[in-house]
Amino acid sequence: MARAHLLNNVTATPKTKSNAETNVVGKPVPRKEGRAKVTGAARYVDDMRVEGLLHGATVRSAVARGRIREIKFGAGVPWDEFVVVTAKDIPGENVVALITLDQPYLAAEFVNHPEEPILLLAHPDKHLLEKARRAVTVEIEPLPPVFTLAESDAKTEIIWGADNVFKSYLVDKGNVDDAWPEADLIVEGEYETGAQEHLYIEPNGVVAVADAEQGVTVWGSMQCPYYVHKALLKLFALPEDKVRVVQTETGGGFGGKEEFPSMIAGHAALLSWRAGGRPVKIIYDRAEDMVASTKRHPSRTRHKTAVTKDGRLLGMEIDFVVDGGAYATLSSVVLSRGTIHAAGPYHCPHVRVHARAVATNAPPHGAFRGFGAPQSIFALERHLDKVATAVGLSPEEFRRRNFVREGQTLATGQVVREPVDMEGLLARAFELTDYQAKRERFARENEGASVKRGIGFASFMHGAGFTGSGEVYLQSVVGVEATAEGVVRVLAASTEIGQGTNTIFAQLAAEALGLDYELIEVLQPDTGHVPNSGPTVASRTTMIVGKLVESAAAGLRQTLQNAGLLGATYTTEEWRAACRAHCERYGALKSFSQYQPPPGIHWDEGKYQGDAYGTYAWAVYVAEVAVDTVTYEARVEDFVALQEVGKVVHPVLAAGQIEGGVAQAIGWTLYENVVWQQGRMLNAQMTNYIIPTAADIPPIRVYFEEQPYPYGPRGAKGIGELPMDGGAPAILNAIEHATGVSFTHVPLMPEALMKGLLEDA
């Protein structure tokens, strides 16, 4: 396997004069919008100056489940000055169009979760608006609610559909029932993960202008402009050209701005429509954002594993359940990714995964970096340490005997056709962390020490792009155009949300055209001007959309060459002259490219068998922890993230993705505890929902191996979600090494740590 680059040595960008020398990919060029961000000039939605603006607010349900009886407008508020919208005022369909059409924009008769939107208000004065919001009371006759995954799964109260189940899958490889009689040992375990708040630092916000004549225009913080576009078409019953969605600079997403912006955009647009087209802005404050928007799906996973006495996996039966909250939203696809990753990068002849997403009366859980995979991988990587102990092998030796190899099959029967070397990754990760020596030293030194140290790891994979046939259905399109001055513009709906879309696309276009990076611009995603390159999710932007940028750019060059305006090699000046000549003679110079699946990819949606993803990133993460047995605090002291991700397009951005994802994983594992009370988040404040600060975070050391993926742009694979997967199990494996106690849930708060350690003592 190709050796990695150590990415701490940042070098200057070489300036290139001709296409033959251009080499932008793999270099840490400056972030396209970096200057705007460090000077405060970048415009986020709340920074827009809009004349005649109304502020919008949302009146929400105080109960988890019930029937709306009456809405009362209290005294002391000049109600005639207010714009008021209820479900009755919706011009089209009262449904947030996504996958399943079950979630209303405004509850009409029934509410199904706390904080469900019921009524909208707008007024020019923010302070008076807040007073008015508090003066509305909604009388709701309560119905019996369901709050936990276990209650929902037991079906004692049916709150959604016929059986509380949004979606279920069955993955069947071989016949797991054949494995039990052959097994020397059967090991069972149950694992749970909690909800997680995205806590992007910019809350959800939009500005909307809407009326029957002009249609609807929305500017906002979002990941997927065309999701919002699709939802607004249905809400207003308008044709496509009457709805325009523009992404403003977006202050973090992590999945939290994948589907949710359709809701807030619809609300602001409904208010504007009702107000005769006056602009309406809705910016959530932190508490509203936390209490009302989506979170990571809580999960429960049960494992039953058949092994031989020499540590060979024979059979794995996995029951994977996620809590979807009150409406279907993206639960079916979150479940899908979690299901496919549930058996990990191991070769096992018999695998059966039963998976389902169930309803509870909590606000819908949604997309969050990793998208179901962190949940099922947590369970697996904890469980395999347990199985290893049961067969008397070290965690690493047990995994070595079962790692999948090229030519073997994953749980969906997918044959691994790429060079994969999990053993090599493991060996290198151990070398980088001095794992073996520390494993022995800590065990020795922990005797009698009040602070106990441990080291643990997780080995895993993450599929890039949409699952199964998803990319084929999406049919993503990217455009590239050149101006008469030779400036190249990338037209895509893929959003820059911090991960570096603008920079990566510009690098890929520059590389494809042999031009300077500075000559490439990436247009602001605006459904009025850019084609639908699909949502900015699923680690797909570089690998899938970037490939389209590359091919659309190549198409542009081909056009100029076919017209006889450009030679096989050219300088920047020759490029500019060719663009000028083309624009003068033939007008606009544009090229579009549409997604084509790589050859030999087959997926059976009915049986859930086949090539679930075109490729995977492969990784081994190692965590070192210190557990204070007096205060019951656990800290991560060192973290090494080693991964094979294909070609690294931008070393600083790539490392930044991994570091940020690992930090979120550390938060999910040790700090971030969503406290639920009657289906409502009780600690909806940054004061008591704690994410890691600069003082908490360990050194996160990032290493890449680069095995170019033939169907990715310049060999790149996706990496955005991967770093969320390995942290939690690596940390809990390390805590078990430190304390001898096997914890099976995250977040592992000090109270739970104390309980576990006291019970053990």
Binding site: E33, D47, E202, Q664, I697
Partner: protein
């Protein structure tokens, strides 16, 4: 108009080197006055309760959360925001270092984080690793995992030590 915005006071202060007379309710948040009256929208609101630091500005050289400061309190002070750091086309060393090191991802915490870094380097021109961690602990970032922000601060110190 509601009670909250009815009464106003005249407040004079210096913002990014320019003397300003502001007319605002005495309890209006400095954050809102900067953003709405002075159009200095580089200062961001992340939580409104002094936890995230996205609204960090300097008041007489001290790092404060502008969401917690009533505007009356800044009468007669010197206020610095992110917009005041660069002079013409020349970025401040910390801004330049944030670009080079990859310290800004989504950018929403960046103005506050940069103000915190500037204040830290004023107080401690050669900070230790612990100084950097503690100096930035009041500013939350959800994108970077802080590593590249630490790199940026170190890079800015190195640059300050170089001959220009």
């Amino acid at each position: 108009m509601s009670d909250e915005t009815a009464a106003t006071a005249e407040i004079t202060c210096t913002v990014n080197g320019v003397r300003r007379t502001l007319s605002a309710h005495p309890l209006a948040r400095l954050l809102d006055v900067l953003r709405e009256q002075l159009s200095l929208t580089g200062t961001k609101e992340g939580c409104g309760e002094g936890e995230c630091g996205a609204c960090s500005v300097l008041v007489d050289g001290a790092l404060v959360n502008s969401c917690l400061i009533p505007v009356l309190q800044v009468a007669g002070t010197k206020i610095e925001t992110v917009e005041g750091l660069a002079s013409d086309a020349q970025l401040h060393a910390v801004q330049q270092a944030f670009i080079e090191a990859g310290g800004a991802q989504c950018g929403i915490c960046t103005p506050g984080m940069i103000m915190a870094a500037v204040q830290l380097l004023t107080e401690k021109p050669q900070p230790t690793d612990a100084d950097i961690r503690n100096g930035l602990a009041g500013n939350l970032c959800r994108c970077t995992g802080y590593m590249k922000i630490f790199d940026a601060v170190v890079r800015a110190c190195q640059r300050a030590g170089e001959p220009t």
